[in-house]
């Protein structure tokens, strides 16, 4: 079977020109990349340029509407009219055509038809292929948003004054560019059957009561309701419980009809309110979930906590205190609620399932500083790590280990750092038993309340070359203690180095001092 790319004659007869073009386009890397970029720009919310495009479109819509309003009673400069009638319309037309183009692939349909015909050894049916293409394009054109897009272009024909009112359709285009409006629409559309039923019911009531009030009132000279149009207008105003009072029935029969319409109106209003409220209630979880995903995607960098255990909660709190961003995934709804109460971005989901991360749509390479597997079960943490490794090989993973026997399994799952809490506590307890004062000193140093901290400062090539040796660091004015220099390449720690110790790029200074003085020292290193 022919696999595209070549427009030769593999089947013993010349290829139809449409098939040749389809194969050529399908084989063209440049064409596919261009179409993908356009599709991404128009449809992918994660594309940063889409935000710019949306903002620009919203601005054009407002300009259009302002011109329309101003034009009613004032003169608008010709330049603005030209901009409104031609430039904006052309931009909207281009956008419409591009959306129509990227919605489906005509080349794929033509090739599909050609290869199907070839398989059953019959002549290529171009019309059938074009029919399939048209059906697909038409399915897009029938969508409400596409209809609104088309209507928004109509004011291009500005000579037809009536068509100017179509500018208002440009306002409806806001639904396309504003997420919250789209969400509102999707919530209401989830109840379209109920709303449609209510609309049909209300329409029947309006029609029947309109006809009845017309029959009762039209021949009464004292009654203002003397045409069917006025009768229907009165019926709509009454059923909606607005009741302007500009037309009121004059006969007892008419008033009886009015009472029925008023009571029906209350019912219609109650039903419609309850339908909208229940739609919002049912969709609220999904709305919140969507918002959470958007918040996570908007973060530039964060720590991903998988398993909001007691330790997870505390780690998240500590990280937030340091100004770090944290995203939590936990399968337990209560844990997620608790995380949200702490002001964290949290999502209900199984950390050991690919679906959870696909839903989050995060870029591991760019956004995730480290994944923390803090579930209280080694099995769950292994599952999480394997899932993450299946998605991304490089992301740093740290996990707690509950049982020593599982250490190797966690390592095999691709976890970079395994923390066996029990062993750590054993080491600390032993240290306390031997040197309690030294232990307390180090423990106090690492406590949150301590003003004195130990920090690491990485030297870049520029700073290292300029400083030369440890003597040039001048730590004394900042009251810092240089514990040593860590060589990242050699993985060697030079404790308390002498003054003549040569500093190099990649060296990490381990300093102890007041937090604010360390910050000043860091700044000074680069400003000197």
């Amino acid at each position: 079977m022919h696999q595209g790319g070549s427009a030769s004659e593999p089947f013993g007869h010349s290829l139809h020109v449409a098939v040749r073009m389809a194969y050529a386009l399908q084989a063209s890397e440049r064409y596919r990349r261009f179409k993908h970029r356009i599709h991404d720009l128009l449809e992918n919310n994660a594309n940063p340029y889409k935000k710019v495009l949306d903002a620009m479109m919203i601005m054009l819509i407002f300009i259009s509407v302002v011109i329309l309003i101003r034009e009613v009673k004032n003169h608008v400069a010709d330049g603005w009219l030209f901009f409104n009638n031609y430039v904006i319309s052309m931009i909207f037309l281009t956008e419409y055509l591009l959306r129509l183009w990227v919605h489906s692939s005509a080349t794929a349909r033509i090739i599909e038809q050609y290869e199907r015909d070839l398989f059953v050894q019959r002549p290529f049916r171009l019309l059938s292929a074009l029919g399939a293409v048209m059906r697909e394009k038409f399915s897009y054109m029938r969508k409400p948003v596409a209809i609104v897009d088309l209507m928004a272009i109509v004011p291009f024909f500005h000579e037809m004054r009536l068509l100017r009112i179509f500018i208002i359709f440009r306002v409806f285009k806001l639904f396309r560019y504003t997420k919250s409006l789209r969400q509102l629409l999707s919530i209401l559309s989830s109840k379209r059957f109920e709303l449609l039923t209510l609309l049909i019911f209300a329409s029947i009531v309006v029609f029947v009561s309109g006809v009845m009030i017309y029959v009762m009132e039209a021949n009464n000279p004292d009654s203002p309701i003397n045409t069917l149009y006025k009768a229907l207008y009165w019926s709509v105003v009454t059923i909606s419980t607005v009741g302007y009072g500009d037309f009121v029935p004059a006969t007892n029969e008419g008033r009886a009809v009015a009472m029925v319409v008023i009571i029906t109106g209350i019912a219609v209003l109650s039903f419609s309110t309850s339908i909208v409220v229940s739609a919002f209630t049912e969709q609220m979880d999904e709305v919140v979930r969507t918002k959470t995903i958007q918040d996570a995607r908007a973060l530039s960098q964060f720590y991903l906590v998988c398993g909001y255990s007691e330790i997870g909660a505390l780690v998240a709190r500590r990280l937030r205190t340091r100004g770090r961003k944290v995203v939590v995934i936990d399968r337990d709804e209560r844990a997620v609620r608790s995380a949200k109460e702490q002001g964290l971005i949290a999502l209900v989901g199984d950390p050991g399932s690919l679906e959870s991360y696909k839903a989050l749509k995060i870029d591991f390479a760019r956004q995730v500083l480290c994944v923390l597997c803090l579930d209280e079960s080694d099995i769950a943490n292994v599952s999480t790590a394997l899932t993450l490794r299946a998605m991304h090989q490089e992301v740093r993973i740290l996990s707690v280990l509950e049982h020593e026997a599982n250490r190797k399994r966690l390592k095999l799952a691709g976890i970079n750092e395994v923390l066996y809490v029990q062993e750590m506590i054993g080491l600390v307890a032993a240290e306390f038993g031997g040197k309690p004062v030294a232990f307390e000193a180090i423990h106090a140093l690492s406590s949150e309340q301590s003003e004195v901290v130990t920090d690491e400062i990485t030297l870049d090539e520029h700073v290292a070359r300029r400083l030369g040796t440890v003597e040039a660091l001048h730590v004394k004015p900042f009251r810092l203690i240089l514990l040593g220099v860590y060589d990242l390449a050699e993985r060697h720690f030079a404790f308390h180095p002498p003054k003549e110790f040569a500093l190099q790029s990649g060296h990490i200074l381990i300093v102890m001092g007041m937090a604010h003085l360390i910050r000043e020292f860091k700044a000074d290193l680069h400003l000197r």
Partner: protein, 230 residues
């Protein structure tokens, strides 16, 4: 005389504590279930059974001494509280260390008489944050504190007549050429509070102060000898 460490319970925490201290101290494990007793015996420890109704006074006569440490590491939080309270009543001189699951228990265990409480969750969270935020510092301090490397942390008490008496910390840290680094001083005049040398206070060193120093083993011993420290 070798100090004795009594460990109560044989949870995974207790196992690790026992393994860490057995090379330096005489270790006895007190357990209250057969399973724990069997595991501790298999690991080669001396094991004794206890009951929560025990009065402990006989054991206290044998083991209550200032240099001895008791670790309360039972799995049940209420049992651990009860045990700490009971032990404090009998062991007046020993240091009691207790493990706490959360912050609430820390306070209760201290009220029950523990000298030192390790809040497991808090310590773990701190360590995780340090590991991911300052991996190099954490690694270096871990090696100094817990690994059997030549680089160590030590505490040295200033004795009467030491050449350090009357000196100021600034002179030692930034003017002198000590081979060790003094990171903190416990000042008896200031009610045994820590004075971090890096805080910048020019502290006056007196007899009885305890210096917390980091250095290589040989350097620390030479420094200890030179100042006549204990």
């Amino acid at each position: 005389m070798e100090s004795t460490v009594l460990i109560f319970g044989y949870s995974e925490y207790a196992v690790q504590i026992a393994k860490q201290v057995r090379s330096l101290h005489h270790v006895r494990i007190f357990v209250h279930t057969d399973g724990e007793a069997q595991r501790a015996l298999e690991d080669g420890f001396e094991v004794e059974r206890f009951d929560f109704s025990d009065r402990w006074h006989d054991d206290a006569q044998h083991y209550d001494a200032f240099q001895n440490v008791l670790y309360c590491a039972l799995e049940g939080r209420e049992e651990n509280l009860f045990l700490t309270l009971s032990l404090r009543d009998a062991f007046v001189r020993s240091t009691i260390v207790a493990l706490a699951g959360n912050h609430e228990d820390v306070h209760k265990l201290k009220m029950a008489g523990a000298d030192k409480v390790f809040p497991i969750v808090q310590m773990t969270a701190d360590l995780i944050v340090d590991l991911i935020e300052k991996p190099i510092v954490t690694d270096v301090l871990h090696k100094i504190l817990y690994e059997k490397s030549d680089l160590q942390i030590a505490q040295i008490t200033i004795t009467k007549g030491s050449w350090l008496c009357g000196k100021r910390t600034h002179d030692l840290l930034w003017e002198g050429d000590l081979e060790v680094i003094i990171i903190a001083i416990v000042d008896l005049e200031l009610h045994s509070t820590f004075v971090f040398t890096a805080k910048g206070l020019n502290h006056h060193i007196d007899e009885g102060d305890i210096l917390v120093v980091i250095g290589y083993h040989g350097q620390i011993e030479a420094f200890r000898a030179s100042i006549g420290g204990a």
